[in-house]
């Protein structure tokens, strides 16, 4: 891949005014409508960003425009996933990567909390059962120093 960088190809970045030629601006309007639905009807929306025909630089412009907010989370399941709230509260990005670090899904959720962060009720039941079993173990007090 380093050899490719030695090829003197100059790519002209679209001027700022070209922002509205591509798909970023229509998408921002769609997000705006989704945010209104969330506010007025409590209806969340999910947008598959992999299905949007982004041109070169569109995704970066979208990310830069929305910015990053105060919440981010990291998930390790079948590879790493990143979840973060944008600078506009209620607009979340969820990026899933596989075990090789390659992106397998990139979504935006307009919601109060992305579903993948919430603990599943079945996991809570299993968690309670595991904790109770651990508490019944007579060696527990010795192990934690009581």
């Amino acid at each position: 891949m380093n050899a490719l960088k030695s090829i003197p190809v100059l790519v002209e970045a679209p001027a700022t005014r070209d922002f509205c030629y591509q798909n970023t601006l229509p998408l921002l309007h769609e997000i705006s409508h989704a945010l209104r639905r969330l506010q007025q009807e409590q209806l969340p929306t999910t947008i598959d960003l992999n299905a949007i025909p982004f041109g070169p630089g569109d995704e970066q412009r979208l990310l830069e425009f929305l910015g990053r907010g105060e919440v981010s989370a990291h998930l390790e399941a079948l590879g790493n996933s990143s979840v973060w709230e944008s600078g506009y509260p209620g607009i979340w990005f969820i990026e899933h990567r596989n075990e090789s670090g390659e992106r397998v899904a990139f979504q935006m959720e307009i919601t109060t909390l992305p579903a993948i962060l919430a603990t599943h009720p079945d996991d809570i039941a299993e968690s309670l059962s595991s904790l109770q079993k651990a508490l019944e173990n007579p060696s527990l007090g010795h192990r934690i120093g009581d």
Partner: protein, 363 residues
């Protein structure tokens, strides 16, 4: 060949996949199948119960590019989970067995899963002379007819299997035909492309694995989820087409600024495929983003369609004269150009028109 003992949900749990991992898997599967994110809960419910299907993969007149595309697909954990789950009982490029042992594996899978297995085919079938392509002494036609007899459906992967492809190009020396020319009593799903996008191949398999049904197809037998819109309609350069901004050569101002490649022969308006969103090479880019027009490889007879660098509605040397006649007659230029294009295409198909370096330099 143990195809019905475990569900995918059970297999995933056995491999230590958590519920969040499963939800992530379903999200990626929905994205891969080009289904809306709202389908994720339905996919999760269906995948919990999905059974392990047997798949027999037949390769005929092909270049192995389709298998290369699939085996180098960019989401290994997802594909691995799917392909670990299907039982790929015969694929003479990938399987370890060869010769009689390989053919025995195919026959055993057919008998064990009678009426329930999937057949995947890449490559066209020569009818001109059976000796043009044989496997284990059997003609491709014999092998296909025998294998398909007990199948639930056939997936034709690549343009050769879907439409005849390159082997069928004029003058079609082997008498190549597509799978659907032979198989008329079973569902045939065409997944064309030269090669098809790996995500599309796995997406079709994932759809069958997930829902146990075949996806909705268009008039060419292609899954609408991937082939439902034209390259042109999903192209990020479409706004330049609408504004009339075109590249006229591969190194002019328009080309450097990423304007529309229509006048350089892009076949995006007549080609239906998912390249514009699925992209290639780990989602890095796709032909139009790399500065070259679409060549229409997912369409029938794309190889004989009149030259990759001839604009669809602007045939070289004829458009000015014909268009001026059209204007004089009060006929819409677009309509007459479309008519000219159809005639040019038909003529090219008949005469196998060639594009030379000189032709390109004229532009």
């Amino acid at each position: 060949m143990d195809t019905n003992t475990k569900t995918l949900g059970e297999a995933l749990r056995r491999n230590g996949v958590t519920r969040r991992g499963f939800l992530k898997f379903c999200t990626a599967t929905a994205s891969m199948m080009a289904l809306p994110p709202s389908m994720v809960p339905a996919i999760a419910a269906a995948l919990e119960q999905a059974r392990r299907p047997s798949v027999i993969w037949l390769s005929f007149q092909e270049c192995t590019g389709c298998t290369e595309s699939l085996s180098r697909s960019h989401a290994p954990s997802l594909e691995n989970l799917i392909f670990d789950h299907i039982s790929l009982d015969y694929h003479h490029t990938l399987q370890v067995a060869s010769g009689e042992a390989a053919e025995a594996a195919r026959e055993a899978a057919m008998h064990a899963n009678e009426g329930a297995y999937l057949v995947v085919v890449d490559g066209s079938i020569p009818l001109g002379n059976p000796g043009y392509s044989t496997i284990a002494g059997f003609s491709n036609l014999q092998t296909l007819e025998e294998t398909v007899a007990g199948a639930v459906a056939v997936i034709a992967v690549g343009t050769c299997a879907s439409f005849g492809g390159l082997p069928k190009a004029y003058p079609n020396p082997t008498g190549a035909v597509s799978v659907s020319d032979i198989v008329t009593d079973k569902p045939v799903i065409n997944v064309p492309g030269c090669p098809p996008i790996p995500m599309v191949i796995t997406g079709v398999l994932a759809h069958y694995l997930t829902f146990g049904t075949l996806p909705e197809l268009d008039h060419y037998g292609r899954p609408k989820a991937f082939y439902g819109t034209s390259i042109h309609d999903r192209c990020y350069r479409r706004p330049f087409y609408d504004k009339g901004r075109f590249a006229h050569t591969f190194d002019d101002e328009g080309a450097r600024k990423g304007w529309c490649l229509y006048k350089l022969g892009c076949k995006g308006p007549m080609t239906y495929n998912a390249c514009a969103t699925a992209k290639w090479n780990q989602g890095t880019s796709w032909p139009v983003e790399s500065g070259h027009g679409c060549i229409g490889c997912a369409e029938p007879d794309f190889w004989d369609a009149g030259g990759f660098y001839n604009a669809l509605s602007v045939p070289t040397g004829e458009i000015s004269r014909n268009a001026s006649y059209a204007i004089a007659a009060g006929v819409g230029v677009g309509a007459i150009a479309a008519g000219i294009n159809q005639r040019t295409r038909n003529k090219a198909v008949r005469q196998h028109a060639e594009v030379t370096i000189e032709d390109l330099e004229k532009r």
